[in-house]
Symmetry: C2
Subunit: 109 residues, 2 copies
DNA sequence: ACAATACATCAGTATATACTGATACAATGA
DNA sequence: TCATTGTATCAGTATATACTGATGTATTGT
C-alpha cells in the first residue's frame, strides 16, 4: 500500500490535462463535438491559423484525444473517445459554479 | 446562434483545466481525496516544499477547486466540489486507454 | 508533368508559470 | 512578551510552450 499516489501516473495525468488546457485545443475539440471535420473546416470554424491548428492537431492526435483519417487530400479529424466529450462537459458544468474564481485567479493567465 | 463557441468561456475553460494540469496541484488534489488535511499534512504526504504547496493551494483556492478553513494555527483544506473528484476520476479512466500516447507525445512535456 | 490545394513541419520569439529561498504574518503556549 | 510553529507571500530564475511565417510534402485534376 502506497502512502502517495504513483508519481508516474500523476505526471501523466498532468500531461493529459495539459492537452485540455489550451484555448486553441479546446476550440478544436469543441468544434469536433459537432462531428468529423477536415483541417480546413476546423481552421474556418475556429479562425485560427492553419499551422497553429495543425500543430495542435498533432498534439491531440499524439495524445490520443482525436483520431485522424485520410480522405483524398483531406484529413478528417474526430474526437477519439466519448470520455473526451464527457470531460469537456463535466468541466463546463463545474465552471458554471467556479467561473468567477477562475476568472479572477491571478496565479494562472 | 453562434457558429463558434463563446471565446470567453473557452478561455475560462482552458484556465480551469490549467488548474488540473500541474503535477504538484494534482498531487495535492489526490491527497485531498482522502479527506481534509492541514497544509503541513499535505506537505508531508506530497514531499513538496512548503512554499510551493502554499502557492499552489492559493491557486486552487482562488479557482474554487479547494476550500480552506482556519483551525487554530492550522488551515484545513478540502476539495470544494464533488465534480472536482469526478473530473480526476474521469481523467484517470481515460488515461487508462491513452496513457501510451500521452507519454510519447512530444508536444507537451 | 505541372499547377493547385490540403496539410504538416520547423525555427525563432515571446510569454507563462513552476520552483526555490528568503522573509513576512498569524496563532499559540510558556 | 517572547519563542515557536504553521502558513502565506514575493522576487528571481529556469523552463515550457503557443504562435507566426516560411517551407516541405502529399494528393488531385488538367
Amino acid at each position: 500500500m502506497l502512502l502517495t499516489a504513483n508519481p508516474t501516473s500523476i505526471a501523466l495525468q498532468a500531461k493529459l490535462f495539459r492537452g485540455f488546457a489550451d484555448p486553441s485545443r479546446l476550440s478544436i475539440m469543441e468544434t469536433l463535438r459537432d462531428g468529423e471535420m477536415t483541417v480546413s473546416e476546423i481552421v474556418e470554424a475556429t479562425q485560427l491559423s492553419q499551422s497553429n491548428i495543425s500543430n495542435h492537431l498533432a498534439c491531440l492526435r499524439d495524445c490520443g484525444l482525436v483520431a485522424a483519417e485520410q480522405d483524398g487530400r483531406y484529413v478528417r479529424y474526430r474526437l477519439s473517445d466519448p470520455r473526451v466529450e464527457q470531460l469537456l462537459a463535466l468541466a463546463d458544468e463545474l465552471l458554471g459554479d467556479v467561473a468567477r474564481g477562475v476568472y479572477e485567479c491571478v496565479h494562472l493567465k
